[in-house]
Homo-oligomer: 78 residues x 2
Amino acid sequence: MDVHHGMTGITADQLKQAHDADLAIQGEEQVTFEQAWADPDSGLVYCLSEAPDADAVQRIHQRAGHPADEIHPVPLTI
Amino acid sequence: MDVHHGMTGITADQLKQAHDADLAIQGEEQVTFEQAWADPDSGLVYCLSEAPDADAVQRIHQRAGHPADEIHPVPLTI
């Protein structure tokens, strides 16, 4: 799970564009972005992915132009 | 999306117990907890739910014994 800060006012179109930019190159790092959720009021965006490690996620996000502010492996899920 | 802090060392069993405690009473507030992800190292737990509002989510989490530290509506998803 990674978190982006400061995305206040993000629109559905902007979220889709950012997500599509990740999807376009994610295979180069064996990352699969599964879902993203955004709160335009607080400017927080959460992205869930399957990935070899946090660094691979960050490399994709950086190359797509939106580095994450936090990345937390979430080995437990229910 | 709500976030719990300080859950360092949480186990799969503890995550399931906490989630089950939410599920047992969620209907009383028209909340549906969909999924939860935990990082035992950082102690962060993320919960995704459908709910009338953030207060309804917090009432369920409080009654279940684990109030959230942050609750962010995520009207945008992809």
